[in-house]
Amino acid sequence: MSVDPLTLLTIVLMGLATYSTRVAGLFLVSRVPAAGRVRNALEAVPAAVLTALVAPAVLTGGIAELAAGAVAGLAALRLPLLAVVILGAATAGLLRAAGL
């Protein structure tokens, strides 16, 4: 099994690029004040990033994605995470199979 040198170089550079984004927080987090607008902003990161990850797929995908997103959101109010995942994916799969 072979490893091409240029392929290896590209892979290493990709790894460094990715790791730099993951480790950057170490250099940023000490600058975050304990209260105020910057703190509010940081506390909003999980909800903001999670929303940004799903909103385009749910809102512009079509009826199947919109319905599956609604099912997942409602299921999350009551059911454990695994049930949310299964119900959401099953809804998307079934509605797509039905041609929606």
Binding site: M14, A24, G25, L26, A44, V45
Partner: protein
């Protein structure tokens, strides 16, 4: 008065973390296999595919990189695209680090290497329910990494003939997971405003230019909305 648990939690933390992310590791199978197959079609050997998965460990950027892959390799394009797709991790790392107090300082750079989207999201949820232990984080990181390496290498060995996972709704498993985790933050102050701004920002940019820029734009919109919202007394609670 509650009795403090006398048993050391170290070992069970690992299995707890691994179990928490097990469904995600399973749902990653069709995507890992598909990515491996696409990589093989672009001329990567199974060993090269394995090396890329082990070094980068970020599914979305690996798909983009393989899409751009050609001969000769457009190295700068591939590396810059990888960086852009992964910029969201800057926010994730900054958000999760203050919740990593139970993880020894010198292990934090190691832990951050494994800050996969799903590990981050589950770690955020865990941190709101109690301390995020090194064992729990390690269990999640180990489980998802081993799964991703196995699925992608298997795909590279199998090569062609892998179906499209979106046909069966597998892709929506991740969307549903993120929705479920998102809803667990619904009691946070400014939640509705943040979600509305992030949804609007990411969707509008997605309609103009689909891709990682939409995620960044949505995240920034949601964070700005939270920063600019009028401060209220009860927020301090």
């Amino acid at each position: 008065m509650p009795t403090p648990s006398p048993t050391p939690r170290r070992r069970s933390d690992w299995s707890e973390g691994a179990l928490a992310i097990l469904p995600v590791a399973g749902a990653a199978l069709p995507f890992g296999v598909l990515w491996g197959a696409l990589a093989a079609q672009k001329g990567l050997s199974p060993l090269e595919a394995l090396l890329m998965s082990a070094t980068v460990l970020a599914g979305a950027s690996q798909f983009v990189a393989i899409d751009l892959w050609a001969h000769p390799i457009p190295i700068a394009t591939v590396v810059v695209a990888t960086f852009l797709v992964n910029t969201r991790h800057i926010l994730m790392g900054t958000s999760i680090l203050p919740k990593m107090e139970a993880i020894p300082r010198r292990w934090k750079p190691v832990a951050l290497f494994f800050l996969v989207d799903e590990v981050w999201a589950l770690a955020e949820k865990r941190a709101r329910e109690g301390p995020l232990t090194a064992g729990c984080y390690g269990g999640m990181a180990a489980m998802i990494s081993v799964a991703w390496l196995a699925w992608t290498t298997a795909g590279a060995i199998l090569g062609t003939g892998v179906g499209d996972p979106t046909r069966y709704g597998f892709d929506f498993a991740f969307t549903a997971l993120f929705i479920g985790l998102l809803m667990s933050f619904r009691a946070a102050p400014g939640f509705t405003l943040t979600v509305a701004a992030a949804a609007a920002g990411s969707t509008v940019v997605h309609l103009v230019a689909p891709g990682p820029l939409a995620i960044a734009a949505g995240a920034v919109a949601g964070i700005l909305a939270a920063a600019l919202r009028p401060a209220r007394r009860e927020d301090a609670a």
